[in-house]
């Protein structure tokens, strides 16, 4: 390298004044430092683990876990392996994240729009919500819902009843489970037909508008078809659906679907907390569309509704989506606070119990971090693709 520099610049500077040599030198030093640090860490860790009698490698994933988990989406019991506990934790994390994202988005958009409402009371109430919720630590909110609200609910025998089918007590919320009978396939079929019909109508309406300019109320008709057709099929097939109503058996309820209080508290807190941030994003996104845009649209004779739909929302969404995804990412990461109230998410189950039982900290932490890294990088990737797709073209 040095020789090359000399060749290309016969009367070049002394090597330590050559910016290229300098840059190379710094980078070599940096690489060496990182390798040295990494090497020391590995060496220390290995010797520490040896002296503590901790084994290494991923063999522990095959061993029997031997502990129970209060909630799992995939079949699980204590005789299964540590590897299985990883899947249980991961699915539980994904469950609460997806539930939280859906609720937080709906609530956040609602409050963000309400914040801009011309109705003074509505605007002030949303402002109050945003300023209170986002300035209080999430963990505190989770504790509040779990210990103060859900923990104060009555015991199963004194459950709060809703119409004799839903029961709420300190063990969770029990709702009836729909059990499909023979003939329910007809309803699914009807739903599929309805979806197909709506798609066709949409295409047809677009075409007709292109050709004749007439605008068809696609949304209203579409909703009507989506609701009516399956309902019709349901009654034609003779109401092929039974509800398994939860019932008190001994000290607790059995049957139906149970939402454990840990999940409920975490979901509530995550959704409410993230919604306050989303609301601010939505508000500033809408405000970011300049007044000139709405004025131009109105000057062209577009009504308020059309102005919103064709001019304001498409532009606001470009501003809203990037910070929105980073809020989703935050929500997914914050779901790890589950461990504080014992909801069996990835961190609680795998990085908690599994790590404690096996002692294989390095492997467990590496796997957990890899999971979060994967989630994060895939969301960033999606984000970049999206940004490139919608970027407003400029010179």
């Amino acid at each position: 390298m040095k020789k090359q520099t000399v060749d290309s610049k016969p009367a070049g500077p002394k090597p330590w004044y050559d910016p290229r040599v300098r840059s190379l030198f710094f980078q070599v030093v940096a690489i060496a430092a990182v390798f040295w640090a990494g090497w020391t860490l590995v060496e220390n860790t290995l010797s520490n683990m040896e002296s503590r009698g901790i084994s290494t490698g991923f063999g522990f994933l095959e061993e029997t876990a031997g502990f129970g988990i209060i909630m799992s989406l995939v079949p699980y019991d204590a005789t299964m392996s540590y590897g299985r506990t990883f899947w249980v934790g991961l699915t539980n994390t994904l469950l609460v994240s997806v539930m939280g994202i859906i609720a937080a988005t709906l609530l956040g958009f609602l409050i963000g729009v309400a914040r801009l409402s011309s109705n003074w009371l509505v605007a002030k109430v949303s402002l109050f919500y945003i300023e209170v919720i986002r300035n209080i630590p999430l963990l505190l909110q989770i504790f509040f819902w779990y210990f103060a609200v859900l923990g104060a609910l009555p015991s199963p025998r004194q459950s709060i009843e809703v119409g004799g089918t839903m029961f709420l007590n300190n063990r969770g919320l029990y709702v009836p489970e729909p059990l499909t009978q023979d003939g329910f396939g007809l309803v699914w079929g009807a739903l599929l037909v309805a979806i197909a019909a709506v798609v066709c109508i949409r295409i047809w309406a677009k075409k007709r508008q292109l050709a004749t300019g007439q605008i068809f109320p696609t949304f209203k008709v579409g909703v009507a078809i989506l609701v009516l057709l399956p309902v019709l099929a349901y009654f034609v097939a003779g109401s092929p659906l039974e509800w398994e109503v939860p019932a008190l058996k001994g000290f607790n309820f059995g049957g139906g679907i149970t939402i454990i209080p840990e999940l409920a508290a975490l979901w509530l807190a995550l959704s409410l907390y993230t919604a306050s941030f989303i609301a601010e994003i939505v508000r500033s996104g809408i405000l970011s569309v300049s007044k000139g845009q709405t004025e131009a649209s109105k000057a062209l004779g577009l009504s308020n509704g059309l102005t919103l739909r064709l001019v304001v929302i498409p532009q606001a969404m470009r501003v809203i989506i990037p910070p929105l995804t980073s809020q989703y990412l935050n929500l997914a990461k914050n779901s790890s606070l589950a461990t504080a109230i014992g909801y069996p998410d990835l961190v609680a189950v795998f990085m908690g119990t599994t790590l404690n039982q096996t002692g294989q900290a390095v492997e467990v932490v590496a796997i957990t971090m890899a999971v979060y890294l994967t989630i994060s990088l895939s969301i960033s990737l999606f984000m970049n693709i999206y940004n490139r797709a919608v970027a407003i073209k400029e010179r």
Partner: protein
């Protein structure tokens, strides 16, 4: 089509008969005793103006004289608080239907273009014809292309506004307004935000438009444009109409001292 249009004709009939005594051609825009306040600030004071079909009016005046506010009142981007504005026989009141009717007959060109950055040039032009006039897309696009040709940028139709120069953007904005086939065009300082070398291309388009018989109301500092095309020049200062005269008289023989001073300043260099 349908309902709103019939309603408009009804209103216009009622109003033209009521205003019958004013004369045979009552003017496409009539402003009578109009006042406007921003809070306690009196921006527009007792404006009276009648503009006939096909007339070309240039409004000039120092900044802050209320000329832009005035022109924005004519399609009710701003509300006036007293007096009457009647555009194409429809009086501007709080009634949304009247406002919408007026706005689809009145095109407007803004100082900062206000093109929609998320839509292509062609989509900008077709948006309103498709959604408000309910014209088939093919027809709307064909007519938009005609107008783009008229403003001499048909080759940019599929670009986004951000990819065009200021002068090109302003010409697109003019074409976009023309696509609604308006009866009146309002220009709110259309050349003020442009680099000097781009002003001419926009003015050329406006002159061409003036030659076609369009009713035009321009707020501008381009005195050359005023001399060439205007039927009347209106000078505003402090929210009032100070002087109103044909361009020849206005420039060679201004009556009011305020006008004289303004012209001296603007023509000094």
């Amino acid at each position: 089509m349908g309902n709103p249009m019939t309603e408009q004709t009804q209103t216009s009939e009622v109003q033209s008969s009521a205003q019958g005594e004013t004369g045979k051609n009552p003017g496409i825009i009539r402003v009578e005793g109009m006042h406007k306040w921003y809070g306690d600030f009196h921006v527009l004071k007792d404006l009276n103006l009648t503009i006939k079909q096909g007339e070309r009016i240039v409004i000039c005046g120092p900044s802050g004289s209320g000329k832009s506010t005035f022109i924005r009142c004519i399609n009710r981007l701003e509300e006036h608080q007293q007096g009457k504005i009647i555009v194409d026989n429809v009086e501007l009141t709080d009634d949304i239907r009247h406002i919408d009717n007026v706005r689809r007959e009145v095109g407007m060109v803004f100082q900062h273009f206000n093109l929609f950055p998320h839509l292509t040039v062609l989509e900008n032009c077709c948006l309103s014809p498709i959604w408000v006039r309910k014209i088939p897309r093919k027809e709307a696009e064909a007519s938009a292309m005609e107008y783009l040709e008229r403003v001499k940028i048909p080759d940019q139709a599929h670009k986004f506004p951000g990819q065009l120069s200021g002068g090109q953007q302003q010409r697109v904005a003019i074409a976009r307004a023309l696509c609604m086939k308006p009866k009146i065009m309002l220009f709110d300082e259309p050349t003020s935000a442009l680099d000097p070398e781009m002003i001419k291309e926009v003015l050329d388009v406006m002159i061409e438009l003036a030659g076609s018989g369009m009713t035009m109301l321009c707020v501008t500092h381009e005195m050359g444009f005023a001399k060439t095309v205007a039927d009347r020049v209106i000078f505003m200062d402090g929210g009032e109409i100070v002087e109103e005269a044909p361009p020849h008289d206005f420039f060679s023989n201004p009556q009011e001292p305020r006008t004289q001073q303004f012209l001296k300043q603007i023509l000094a260099h």
